[in-house]
Structures are given as structure tokens and as C-alpha cells.
Amino acid sequence: MLSEYLPIFILMIFALAFASVMVLSNRILGPKKPNPEKLSTYESGMEPIRTARDRFSVKFYLVAMLFIIFDIEIVFLYPWAVTFDKLGVLGYVEMFLFIFVLLVGYFYIIKKGALKWE
């Protein structure tokens, strides 16, 4: 059972090793000749005009919150999808009721304009 997770474990170790080797070799091997132009935030891009530590718009929060609610809906859908052949018509009704309740909320927030990015 647990040996099924061995590839994931190996992948994680490999990713960690690869990332640290890249960062470290850059630090050790790369030449360091800093000048003010190189040290600016976007070397060939636009000048940053304000601090990056500003408050975010609440729109980002709303999108993240909507994501989490429907994320949970998906998590509930998954065990249903695995077993729905055994559940018959009742299983359909149960899940459609569940989805319907959340769909009401979905239409409400669309009407409210919460998904508009203006």
C-alpha cells in the first residue's frame, strides 16, 4: 500500500535536489558584478512607482473565497462519482439537490456582480 507512494517520494526528493543544486550552483559559479541598473527590480522593464507592500483589492479575496466553496463541492462530487453506479436514481437526485443548492448561490453572486472584474 505504502510502496505506491514511493514514486511521489522520489519525485519530491528529486525536485528538492534539482532546485537546490540550481540555486546553489548559480550562487557559487556565477560571476558577481553588481551595478545599480542590474539591482533594480525590473532590469529592462518599467520603473516600479509604488511600494509592492500595498493593500490588495478585495476582489482577489472574493475570487479565492468562491474558489474554495466550489472546491469543496468538487471534493464531494468525487466519492459520488466513484460509487454512483451502485446508488441508482436516488444517487442522482441526492447529488442534484446538493448541486442545486450551491447553484442558487452561484446565480445570486452573478446577479450581485461579485464575479465582475470591471
Partner: protein, 100 residues
């Protein structure tokens, strides 16, 4: 082989850290994180029981904890953001009035 009680001790330690955090920290968002820690420790205990007994109900209950955790975080943070807009603070010692 790890006995069940070790998982329970781990869950207990996580829960205690969460309680301690709620009691000593003054920042509302850190308090939210500590509540998440406590919910996680309860989930861990539930899954531990479920696996050792061989009954899937414990694992299923975790889903309902997840639903409550998500609802709590989304509404709670919305409230904190609304308070921050009015008071410019998230320190719960300064948010001690029901109305201002």
C-alpha cells in the same frame, strides 16, 4: 509499528499548540491560523481512529469538518476585512465593542 496512541499524542500536541496560540496571540488572522491547527488535529485523530478500527466513518466525518472550516474561514476573514476597513486594525484587544 506505530501504535494508535502516538497519533493521538501528536494530535493532542497540535491541538494544544492551537489553543495556546488562540490565547496568547492578538492578531485576528493568526488566531484563525491557530483554529485551523486545532481543526487539523481533530481531523488527524478522526482519521487515526478510522484507520485503526477499519471503519470509514471517521474519514467521512473529516469532510464535514472541511466544510465547516472553509465556511468559517471565508466568512470570518470577510468579517475581519470589514472590521479592518472601519478600524484599520486586526488586533482583537482593540476590537472590543459590538458597535461603534
Amino acid at each position: 509499528m506505530i501504535p494508535l496512541s502516538w497519533y493521538l499524542f501528536l494530535s493532542l500536541i497540535l491541538f494544544t499548540i492551537g489553543v495556546l496560540g488562540v490565547l496568547i496571540r492578538r492578531n485576528a488572522i493568526v488566531i484563525f491560523m491557530c483554529i485551523e491547527l486545532m481543526l487539523n488535529s481533530v481531523n488527524l485523530a478522526l482519521v487515526g481512529f478510522s484507520s485503526y478500527i477499519g471503519n470509514e466513518i471517521g474519514q467521512m466525518l473529516v469532510f464535514f469538518v472541511l466544510v465547516v472550516a472553509a465556511a468559517e474561514v471565508s466568512v470570518g476573514l470577510a468579517i475581519i476585512i470589514a472590521i479592518f476597513r472601519n478600524r484599520l486594525t486586526v488586533n482583537i484587544d482593540e476590537i472590543n465593542l459590538l458597535k461603534w
